[in-house]
Assembly symmetry: C2
DNA sequence: AAAATTCTTTGATGTAAGTCAAACGACTGA
DNA sequence: TCAGTCGTTTGACTTACATCAAAGAATTTT
């Protein structure tokens, strides 16, 4: 979600990135491996792990993050079946998580962006049950789960935060079940776009336009529909003047119309 | 799931119930309110919270359970919007959890039975985001979340267990997303029946027959299909000799056929 | 025991989304 | 720069499931 498409120069080109104390244009960023990873001076601290920490505690929190890891576009952070050792906080980049049925059908279970935590699926069985694939070059903080648990015992505020992160994921999946079980194609796409733009906006991006980092097929997999239906729905919204779409570029022209499609009741 | 239908006397009539040290026929049970609630002598301890505890630790665990609460069939343990205070361990009975969209569409997000934990949805926002409805008279252990967190800090084995319970719920919801997003009606019903019978079997019930505690509509809501389609699919399986169905009674005659429908690959 | 209510089954028909197919646009690597 | 690949769009046709409807079974109420 960070890189600007050359054909769409009007898109905000700053990228939310941890550890820099300023917003920097994407093409100028420098993130030498030597920079100490520290939650205490990370841009993402309001979104990521360190909520409600006072400055002294924050230093302790830095201890949970052991290393940083880069994942190139298309590569996996972890795969289904891998031993579970760590949670990962996304510093930069964009991921999808997905599971495959025995006969090869793929279900995208989520899209994750900077400040979000992935890997929670691995706790229950000590092995991951999904794949985490980078949809753009990414950079994650590796948080060995043993460290997280140890520090959680020491800091109730961290403990509570970890619980909230897991609970949030449960609640998110509940709402996806509602989408998949009850909503029609247009409602699903409207909800998807609104959710995406809301999360991007929380990270300092435009609340009206963005570049999709996933294919139509991946969107369709997430929303339980075929890529052709995703494409047709985008085209329909475009024809109706609700959005502007050109390939991966999306501009939301009538957010209220999207909200109305998603939820006819609460919008006048 | 405990009560035997009078027209199906061959069904195992014992009921898994916490705090009794023996299996007792349902109609003979006595559970006076005066009995001290104690995990240490609960039948469900292998399924519920107290995994991997030694006898001394187990006594401490008893402290998390503050009270017991009865919920009558049709009543709610909690509702969406209620302040979150506690997790609940089901001792007896059967629940559904569900969410409603603004325009009144209901999505069942899960069915829970003895030994399972409900209420995790409330942690993130300090308010519940779903309703928990008893589908039969139920009895739950109330575990104030503050107690759970406090004791988790003291006992790493409990901490780990709480994390596993939350992770398990995330993984379960992932697999429901796969069902809803990729599977056809017959596959969903096959998966549903296999999952139900497996969980009942783990609780000492028959692995072939049981009484459904939910309506066709509730099954349909959970699986993203209409009640008529649920009914037709049951009838189809019955015609094919895979199951026997009569109203809420279900007997699985050909489990391998169900497995094959659910997953054509791994079954010969 | 009758009446009312709720749940389930089954049939007839409709439709939203899937499937198949083809063309086009964008990106990639020699 | 061009060929090859991958992703997207759009049209024509199909289908799995939804919807509508009615009857029958089970359960609850009076």
């Amino acid at each position: 979600m960070c890189q600007a498409n050359s054909s769409n120069k009007d898109i905000k080109t700053v990228c939310l990135e941890g550890n820099d104390n300023s917003w920097q244009p994407m093409n100028q960023r420098t993130t030498p491996e030597t920079i100490k990873i520290a939650c205490s001076n990370c841009n993402l601290r309001e979104l990521c792990m360190p909520i409600g920490f006072n400055p002294e505690d924050m230093q302790k929190l830095d201890e949970v993050v052991a290393t940083r890891r880069r994942v190139k576009q298309g590569e996996r952070l972890f795969s289904s079946g891998d031993p579970f050792t760590s949670l990962y906080a996304i510093r930069t980049g964009f991921f999808k998580t997905c599971i495959s049925s025995e006969d090869g059908r793929e279900q995208v279970t989520g899209f994750q962006m900077a400040g979000e935590i992935i890997g929670l699926d691995g706790i229950v069985s000590d092995h991951h049950s999904c794949n985490a694939v980078a949809l753009e070059d990414a950079d994650v903080c590796v948080m060995p789960f043993a460290n997280v648990e140890e520090l959680s015992r020491e800091f109730p505020v961290l403990q509570r935060h970890v619980h909230k992160i897991m609970s949030r994921e449960i609640v998110r999946e509940n709402s996806i079940m509602m989408l998949l079980g009850n909503m029609r194609a247009e409602e699903r796409i409207a909800a998807f776009l609104l959710n995406l733009v809301q999360r991007l906006h929380a990270r300092g991006f435009s609340q009206s336009e963005f570049i999709l980092r996933m294919t139509r097929e991946e969107i369709g997999s997430y929303l339980g529909m075929k890529l052709e239906t995703v494409s047709r729905t985008f085209s329909k919204f475009s024809d109706d003047g609700i959005i502007e779409v050109k390939q991966r570029y999306v501009k939301i022209i009538e957010p209220d119309a999207l909200k109305k499609i998603f939820n006819p009741q609460t919008c006048s």
